[in-house]
Every structure is written in C-alpha cells, then in structure tokens.
C-alpha cells in the first residue's frame, strides 16, 4: 500500500520555555495509507488532537517532519495551503464554526477559497450535501435555524465539498443520539467508498470505531504504543484499560473468560466473532458438548 500521510519523528511542545511547558507529542512516526479507513483512539489529553492538527499544517512541528504524498508540507507557504485543501479536517463540534447566511454559502466557503469557478462550486456543494443527507430546500435556509444534528452535517459537508483526498474527523459523533451517530458514520463511509478517500476518525469510544475501521492507531501520552487491525490491538486489552481506554464490552468478557482459565481467543469485538470463538472452543472440546 502507498503511504499518503506520514510523520517522521514528530514532536510538539506547547508553551516551550515557560513553566507551563508540555510535551504533547514525542517523536511520533505515523503513517496513513491511500484509501485506508483508520481509527485514532486515545484518552483526553493523549495528544491525538495535536497529532491530527499537524497533518494539515495547522500546527507547526517543534521537531520532525510531516509528509503528504512523500513531500514535506512545510516546504513552501503555498504547499501548506494546498495541503489544507487536500487534507480536510473536521473539528470536534464543527457546528460552532458556521457563519454564513445560508447553508449553501457556508458549504461553499471551502471550495471558494480554493478558487474554483461557479459551476464547479455548485456541483461540489450539491454533492457534499448529498453525502450527508441534506435535502435541497435546506440549502437555502440559515444554518442557525437547523437542529444540532443537521448543523453538524452542514459543517461536515463544508469540508467534504473541498473533496479532500484525506478526511480527518475529530469525534464526529460526540453528543449525538444513537440514530444520529449511525447515520453520520454511514455518511462518512459513503464518502470513503465513493471517492476512495483516506478516512481518519478520532474517537475515544472503541466500540464505535472498531466496527468500521480497517486499522486502529492508539495514542497514549504523546506516543503510539500500538497500531494494527482492531483484533490485534484489542489483544492488548489490559494495557488499553490501563491507558483509560475501555475495550469493547465483548472483548472485555472474553478477556475475563481467559483469565478464568478458558482456552479462548480474547481479541473478538463483534457478536459474530464471539460466536465463532465460542464455537471453536466447543469444537476442540469434542462435538459441541461441555461448557466453556
């Protein structure tokens, strides 16, 4: 697979040379591949937000490099700006950044800044609205008349309209009801499949990300202790709990079973996998008889 974003020995220190000095990232090597659906998990203050703000050049590394498509994003001023269009970043609670009179104009803000012509902007705004299930009549409304969930959709559409090759979302489902969570995650997935875009989803909820991502990156204390497919990461159940990250309920049950002495694979995280793991144990015990 071809890397699209990489960091090399990336460090970031806040308020350097003051009593409030704080190392947020410590020599992090991170890679995201083209077309990948990646989950970044970490506790509050682990450095995950700092990491993603480096990926589109909002924060400047204290040391180390950030590469987009193999080239340093800090090479020239123009390159930073181009990177920001290529690497779309949706902040936490993005609905607070809406400012235009109509939803249409707000979604068009990004494409307009890219210097596209009217027709292309119109196409992108309508397509972005479609990705997040916004009806056509909503486009002419003021964003401040909408419900919280709809505002969130408008804000996400505002970034999608730039058609970034990499879409980073910081806790996109925070504060939404379960139905809202499902539909936003589905919208993001639709964008991923339609444009073969790389998606980075930041979350502190394992359960939520585990179901959708190809790969998980764990950030703890400014470092990346593990990364890999969800099953591999969840095999480190105890260490994850120590970092204050709950593993999915299913994984926790199976870790407990293993602690009780059952010969069972503890890296499961969905009901299907759990069923398969239980059946595998029963098989080994002979013909499905006997309890686990």
């Amino acid at each position: 697979m071809e890397p699209i974003i990489q960091t090399e020995q990336l460090s970031h220190i806040y308020s350097a040379n003051t009593p409030f000095e704080q190392t947020a990232l410590d020599k992090v090597d991170f890679t995201a591949y083209r077309g990948e659906y990646l989950g970044i998990i970490g506790h509050t203050g682990s450095g995950k937000s700092t990491l993603i703000q480096h990926l589109n050049g909002l924060l400047k590394p204290t040391s180390g490099r950030v590469l987009f498509e193999g080239k340093d994003i800090w090479e020239t001023k123009e390159r930073i700006r181009q990177t920001r269009f290529q690497v779309g970043l949706v902040f936490q609670y993005p609905e607070y950044q809406l400012f235009e009179e109509t939803v249409y104009k707000d979604i068009a803000f990004g494409p307009k800044n890219m210097g596209l012509d009217e027709k292309e902007i119109d196409r992108r705004v309508r397509q972005a609205a479609q990705f997040v299930d916004l009806a056509d009549q909503v486009l002419e409304q003021s964003p401040f008349e909408l419900s919280g969930g709809q505002k969130r959709r408008v804000a996400i559409a505002g970034v999608i309209a730039m058609e970034p090759a990499v879409l980073i979302l910081d806790e996109p489902t925070a504060g939404l009801d379960p139905v809202g969570v499902e539909s936003i995650l589905r919208n993001i997935h639709d964008y991923h499949t339609a444009k073969n875009a790389t998606i980075l989803i930041v979350s502190h909820s394992m359960e939520e990300v585990a179901r959708t991502v190809d790969r998980l990156v764990v950030v703890d204390n400014g470092k990346i202790p593990f990364s890999g497919p969800p099953r591999e990461v969840f095999a480190h159940g105890e260490e994850l709990e120590r970092m204050g990250l709950g593993v999915p309920a299913m994984t926790r049950v199976f870790h407990r079973l293993r602690a009780l002495g059952a010969e069972i694979d503890p890296s499961v995280y969905t009901v299907e996998q759990a069923k398969a793991a239980v059946l595998a144990v029963l098989e080994r015990r002979g013909g499905g008889k006997g309890a686990v």
């Binding site: 003051t18 909002l58 920001r84 949706v90 902040f91 607070y96 950044q97 400012f99 800044n113 970034v159």
Partner: protein, 269 residues
C-alpha cells in the same frame, strides 16, 4: 498564533502571604502604591518604590520572567511615551543633541527614564494584584469596597457580578477564538495576507461564530444561574466572608507610610 501566551490579568495560584491577604487590602495598597508613584518627584522616591516592588515580586513567587512577559503587550506604548518625552521636554541651557527640529535636553532624558519607570512599575504593581488574587476574590473585594455607593443607588452587586463573569470568560473566549480560527483555516481561510479591507472581510468567518457562541454561553449561564435561584444581591450571603487580619492592618499601614515617605523625600531633596 500567540493568543495563548497572553498573561494579562491571569491568576497564578499560590499560598504566599501576598496571596493570603484580604483582597480589599490588596486593592487599597495597589491604589496607595499608584498614588505614591505619581507623587514621586525624584530618584530616591523612585528607588524606594522600585525596591518595594521588587521585594513584593520576590515574596509573591510569581517570578520576574512572568512579570516581564506580561509587559510585552504594552512595550510599544512605553517606547512611544519615552520617545515623546525625550524630544518634547523643554530644558534650560544647551541641548545635548540637536538635529533638524529635534532638541534633546538633559531634562528630556530624565523625563523619559522616569516615564518608563513609572509606566512599568504601574503595570507591574497592578499585575501583582491580579497575579496573586483570583478574579472571584478580586470582585468580592471591589464589591465590599464600593458598598457605600449603594446609598446613592449604584448597582454595586450587579456591576461586580458582571465583572467577575467577564473575567471568568476571557480565557474561554480566547480558547474559542483559537479553535474557530483553526477550523476556518482548515477550510482555506486566510487571515494573514491581503490589504486592510481583505483582512477585515476575512474576520467575518471568525467573528460571527464567536459572537453566536458568546450569546449562547450567556443564555446558558443565565438559565443556570436562575436554576440556582439567583435574583441579584438582595439577601445574598457568602461562602467566604472577608475578614481583615493583623497582616492586613500592617499592609495598609505600610501603604500609607510609603505614600508619606515618598512625599517627604520629594520635599527634602
């Protein structure tokens, strides 16, 4: 963006004697110090005031670094006033330096030096007040001090409450500004380049969300306060009742002595 580095009016938690003094004492002593500063006419007066200020800074454990950093935003003003004083103070005798329309006299140099000292010390002593007093205590103290004005129908309590709320939300708003700026930059907003008009227009995507969120916060806060039965200052009791102790009396006496001393020094020399 250097927004986060602003330390103006920020409280440094601590438990030094300066932190523990009654806020009313500290406000009055700050006022006394400022009066002394304007009464000071000559070098001995300034030296004493400077020595007192240095001693207080050491006692407060705030650190000279923090004091100097706090001075950064007003650096230009200091330089500007100093330069004006340097060139526009008329003096007797020969000018030390003269070119084109400018004449620099010895008196001008002294005036500039004193002006720098005066502004820097003025800022530092008010910084010491806000560095060592939490905003809540500060407004509590102000409210108590201004209490007599209630007799002439000044809404002292309401003003104090407004002030403490405003102080409380400064850091929140700064953080919010930072966040919205980043979010708009991520959508390609450009705050740094272009002419004046372009720069002003670039602020719209920042100011609109900021105002909206400020109003939203105000609304939420008002509801939260009403839920806790807030209805103004009438009959409101305090969790922390301010009490003047021995240290406060001594500090107040010290402030008075300082004023008198400076005046006397002005007369003698």
């Amino acid at each position: 963006m250097a927004l986060k580095d602003i330390t103006l009016g920020q409280y440094f938690p601590g438990s030094t004697i300066l932190h523990r003094l009654d806020p009313r004492t500290k406000i009055l002593c700050t006022v006394a110090y400022i009066i002394a500063l304007f009464l000071a006419k000559n070098l001995p007066g300034y030296l004493i005031l400077l020595a007192v200020l240095c001693a207080l800074t050491v006692v407060s454990k705030v650190g000279f670094g923090a004091v100097l950093r706090g001075m950064k935003p007003i650096f230009i003003i200091i330089v500007f006033t100093a330069v004006l004083n340097l060139f526009y103070t008329p003096g007797q005798g020969e000018p030390l330096l003269s070119f084109w329309v400018f004449r620099v006299y010895a008196e001008g140099i002294w005036a500039a030096v004193f002006m720098i000292l005066r502004i820097a010390m003025l800022i530092t002593c008010t910084f010491l007040l806000t560095y060592t007093t939490s905003p809540i205590l500060l407004t509590d103290g102000l409210e108590k001090l201004l209490n007599p004005l209630k007799a002439v129908h000044v809404p002292v309590h309401e003003l104090a409450m407004m002030m403490s709320i405003a102080l409380r939300f400064i850091p929140t708003l700064i953080e919010e500004t930072d966040k919205i700026m980043s979010a708009q930059k991520a959508r390609g907003a450009d705050f740094d380049t272009g002419g004046l008009m372009q720069k002003a227009r670039a602020l719209v995507p920042l100011l609109v969300p900021l105002f909206i969120s400020a109003f939203r916060r105000a609304d939420e806060l008002a509801v939260a306060m009403e839920c806790r039965c807030y209805h103004g200052g009438e009959g409101r009791t305090r969790m922390r009742v301010l009490k003047l102790g021995t240290a406060d009396v001594l500090a107040l006496a010290g402030g008075a002595v300082l004023c008198v001393l400076v005046v006397l020094l002005g007369r003698i020399f």
